[in-house]
């Protein structure tokens, strides 16, 4: 047993840290986050052409670097720490994973090299139900000559207004929950798809609405077996959930570090406020949350690797993802919230970055299910003997 980063993984993490410390500065984040696109295309080009991050866990056969989920998570953690504004999560952790899990040989060969090289993409599956399981899929498809016709709308789609490739989940008319779901991969400029930016409270991560009005999708866009797409989609969602917890871990760490830095400078009653026990104990609680998050995220990353490569522990993916998401969602919120409190008045100003972390904590907490959602998922496994991924009765 050796549950720590290898030297190579450590290097990947420190390289990511150094690059983002220089490029994803507070100024850069604040400049990107007010644009409709939501990111700086030049920085995205550097990420793709100098760092090769989108290629990281894509197999070499498809133009990737063939590294694993642990390396990916080590990088995502730094992106969360530096509030990176980029279509990375949507392209790599949603769309590339979808192709890896559900794509056929032709689809992988066609799309993965593009994504590895910097073409942007995303996954759309949620309607407006506010749920994150199979019941969230409410766009419907019907068979048509040479393909399918899709109608309905998606909300909360990460980078949905800018992505160049779309993976879409839709269901057969009259089907419910886990039955009747199919996945499709198409170019985003396919006729009949209207895309609209949904401005969000967390300005560092973009969301969009997609409206499909009788959109024609050719047969070859179907991923896997028609109407039997749920198991693949469930796995894609679990893999994305693991990825987002890494962002949360990095953010929770930075909320702690930047707060402690401030506490060491701020003087009241003649001493730095870091010397007051009431303050120290809050900071200690924040560190407990960070280190416990780190243990959960790295474990989930190992399990994600096993799941993608067919290892013996791959069956733990749903549980490991829910454990990490339940814990990290609450931990990031706690740390960012305490961060504002411990900063005092300046924590409430736009000038200090802690507010940006507080908002990113909220958006990552909600996305793919908050703590309560994932705890209920675990409760079903523990108490009801339910198979993973069944639909749930809790609202999030």
């Amino acid at each position: 047993m050796d549950f720590r980063f290898t030297q190579e993984q450590d290097m990947i993490r420190s390289t990511a840290q150094a690059f983002l410390a220089e490029t994803s500065t507070s100024t850069a984040v604040r400049s990107a986050m007010v644009t409709e696109q939501g990111y700086d295309p030049e920085l995205w080009q550097r990420i793709c052409n100098e760092m090769y991050w989108p290629a990281m866990h894509i197999p070499e056969a498809y133009g990737g670097l063939g590294l694993g989920y642990v390396e990916l998570v080590a990088t995502l953690e730094q992106m969360g720490r530096y509030l990176l504004c980029a279509p990375f999560f949507s392209t790599v952790c949603l769309a590339a994973n979808a192709l890896l899990v559900a794509g056929n040989a032709e689809q992988k060969a066609h799309y993965l090299p593009q994504l590895a090289a910097g073409t942007t993409a995303t996954l759309a599956y949620t309607g407006s139900s506010g749920r994150w399981d199979a019941s969230a899929v409410d766009v419907v498809y019907a068979a048509a000559e040479g393909g399918y016709r899709l109608s309905g709308s998606y909300r909360y789609v990460p980078d949905g207004h800018t992505a160049e490739v779309l993976v879409l989940a839709a269901r057969e008319p009259g089907s419910a929950n886990e039955s009747g779901i199919s996945l499709f991969v198409i170019a985003a400029d396919t006729a009949g798809i209207r895309r609209r930016w949904l401005p969000t409270m967390d300005q560092t991560r973009r969301q969009a609405e997609l409206v499909l009005d009788d959109v024609f999708i050719p047969l070859e866009a179907l991923m896997g077996v028609e109407a039997e797409g749920w198991p693949a989609l469930a796995k894609i969602i679990d893999l994305a959930t693991v990825a987002i917890t890494a962002d949360q871990l990095g953010g929770a760490q930075q909320a702690l570090d930047s707060t402690v830095d401030y506490l060491q400078e701020r003087v009241q009653f003649g001493r730095v406020i870091a010397s007051y026990q009431a303050v120290k104990h809050k900071a200690a609680d924040m560190m407990v949350k960070v280190e416990a998050s780190r243990s959960a995220v790295y474990y989930a990353a190992c399990i994600a690797d096993e799941s993608l490569l067919g290892g013996p522990l791959g069956g733990e993916l749903t549980e490991a993802a829910s454990i990490a998401k339940a814990y990290c969602s609450d931990a990031y919120f706690f740390n960012a919230g305490c961060g504002i409190q411990l900063h005092g008045g300046v924590g409430f100003t736009a000038e200090y970055d802690i507010q940006l972390y507080f908002k990113r904590a909220r958006s990552t907490e909600t996305f793919l299910g908050n703590g309560a959602w994932h705890r209920e998922r675990l409760a079903r496994l523990l108490l009801d003997g339910a198979a993973p991924g069944q639909s749930q009765e809790v609202s999030a």
């Binding site: 047993m1 549950f3 900071a283 814990y327 675990l378």
Partner: protein, 396 residues
Amino acid sequence: MKLSFNAEDEQFRAEVADWLVANLCGDFECIRYRGGPGDEHSFVEQRKNWERKLHEGGWTGIGWPGEYGGRGASIEQQVIFNEEYARAGGPGRMGHIGETLTGPTLIAFGTQQQRERYLPGILRGEDLWCQGYSEPGAGSDLANVKTKARFDENSGQWLISGQKVWTSLAHESRYCFVIARTDPASVGHKGLGFFLLTMDQPGIEVRPIEQITGTSEFNEVFFDEAVCGADDIVGEPGDGWKVAMGLLGFERGVSTLGQQMLFQNEFDEVLRVARENGAAADPAIRQRIADAHVGLRIMRFNSMRMLSGGGDDGSLSREAMIYKLYWATWHRNLGKLAMDVLGPESEILDGAPYALNRLQSLYLFTRADTIYGGTNQIQRNIIAERALGMPREPRG
């Protein structure tokens, strides 16, 4: 990162498990799962015999070097032993203070004569030890010990006078190690000595302390010119603090996975009750049960990090520094959850005068977890000061 143990370690695991199945039965059936925290008063004679049985199987002092009669087992193998021991329902160890504290201390700091005199009895499971650290005025502030040690030139012996408190197993032990002040003018951690005393002597009186559980795991120990041979001081007069703190370094996390196996047993009992009495249908209880599961799984991942990593220079890594605060708080919360799952039945005893059932005992005893071995408040000070670099508390 690698999550599994290697083949050699797995073979060791099988050896341990087989031996336990073959030996923890018959006369020892009654002590399975007994004698743990809160239950240390039960089946004392059988558990003493069990210590000797363990020795026959070569399972005492497994982490000690071969030259001192141990197995020189690796950290992984010690972890595996503890895990399998707990899984099999191995009883609370009567000999654990001698094996995990006295032995390693003498191996590190003792003289050859001390090792020859004391180590064999510990290995044989015959000589039980207790720990004389805390005093009425020296709890969290351990360096404030007042117990005095005076060298009597006439008899050529040390004479120890003072009072110790919270001394587990004092009434069952043959020996006690004690920190006492060798320099009467000294304060704090200077001027202390580390002494090895025989308990059966006129100068020592043991008085049990009745706890909130109605049982008496702890004692007060009074020393009135208790004698200690000139050869039975470990290190020099004045080295006591260094030797005592050296003990803390011997706890490298090898017992943590075994401890968690006990926690898992308790948690499983809570799950069983919840399924039986219908509490499993209550959404609020479901959230808390899932939260407890998340907390316990992360405790394990955190231990895996502790065991894999860092601390090559002897310092505690960040995941190790949070461990006590994390497990103690988790365990205390489990006690509360157990009562809420039991509902009104939580009040009803097994019988008069005060026969607690297992979960009631858990509820009451876990109030000690966040106090002994460094209170939660002391743990937060340590985390803030040593891990986060915040200013030290002023000391009078």
